[in-house]
């Protein structure tokens, strides 16, 4: 009886460890960022696009208003695809669209907006990409819906018809 204790104990431990690793194997190993987290918006200072004025984020976002922060660049092809949806959202009365121009040349960004028209109430310049990091962004395009100084929705990649409907539903 005594000699059976050790093997039983070892087998039990082995089964527990096997079960944990087997369960772990079933977890997806592709990183999926959380897009529905309520996080405070970051505090930052940056240049206003095409000017030398420095603006603090506290001056931009007011309470009780929806803001759509869109990170874009003229060199980014998906930004071109989502522009039509931004123009649709531009018509929404209770929403202000703030652009963050990411690692771009001013002239190229200006011709991009001249060609496709400008949906942004204010454009901030992010020459080194650190403002995008402050927002927890991965690249361009990326969009954040902000309400009461909190990020209520994050869209990674270009805005499409589904995300447009989702935004419209959220700001109703």
């Amino acid at each position: 009886m005594k000699s059976k204790t050790l093997p039983t104990f070892l087998i039990t431990i082995f089964i527990i460890i096997f079960y944990i690793f087997y369960k772990g194997l079933q977890n997806p190993n592709i990183y999926t960022p959380d897009v529905n987290i309520k996080k405070d918006i970051p505090n930052f200072k940056t240049k206003v696009f095409d000017t030398n004025n420095i603006i603090n984020s506290n001056e931009i976002f007011k309470e009780n208003k929806f803001y759509l922060v869109n990170i874009w660049a003229s060199w980014c092809a998906p930004c071109r695809d989502e522009h039509i949806f931004l123009m649709k959202l531009y018509k929404q009365k209770n929403l202000e669209i703030i652009g963050i121009n990411y690692k771009d040349k001013n002239d190229n960004a200006k011709s991009f907006l001249n060609e496709l028209s400008n949906p942004y109430k204010l454009i901030l310049s992010d020459q080194d990409g650190t403002i995008a990091i402050e927002w927890g962004a991965y690249g361009v395009p990326e969009t954040f819906l902000v309400y009461e100084r909190k990020i209520i929705k994050k869209i990674i990649g270009p805005i499409n018809n589904n995300s447009l409907l989702e935004i419209q539903k959220l700001i109703k």
Binding site: L10, I17, G129, T130, I133, E134, Y138, G139
Partner: protein, 121 residues
């Protein structure tokens, strides 16, 4: 006096260089422990992607502002979650990961001792 001034200038320049080297090595150490979230199996240090470049600039800025390694990890963890760190910190989700090797070591030792003791008797 002139010689003293020259020596002081040389000392100052060398000191500045060593300070820069220290900052650079800390930046490398931190960026080596950060996962490039948009790359396949690369650290921020190894990657040249736009994302990694921005993180490198940010880490450099934070070091020059006097932030510690722990503060920088904490900041990035808050923005991107635990996944950005190659070395996960001890917490609710990771306690098993950290404690399992110790547990295995203790159990293994106990088993070896027990077998040794049984054989002796």
């Amino acid at each position: 006096m002139k010689l003293f001034k020259y020596l002081l200038a040389i000392f100052f320049v060398l000191n500045l260089n060593s300070l820069n080297a220290q900052e650079d090595s800390l930046q490398s150490k931190i960026t080596k422990n950060l996962r490039c979230l948009i790359c396949q199996g690369q650290s921020v240090y190894d990657s040249d992607s736009e994302f990694a470049d921005s993180i490198k600039i940010l880490v450099k800025k934070k070091i020059s502002e006097g932030e510690s390694e722990k503060q920088i990890y904490g900041y990035l963890k808050d923005k991107y979650g635990e996944w950005i760190l190659y070395e996960p910190q001890f917490g609710k989700k990771t306690y098993f990961l950290w404690l399992l090797p110790i547990l295995m070591f203790v159990l293994g030792g106990a088993i070896i001792l027990k077998i040794f003791y049984l054989k002796k008797n």
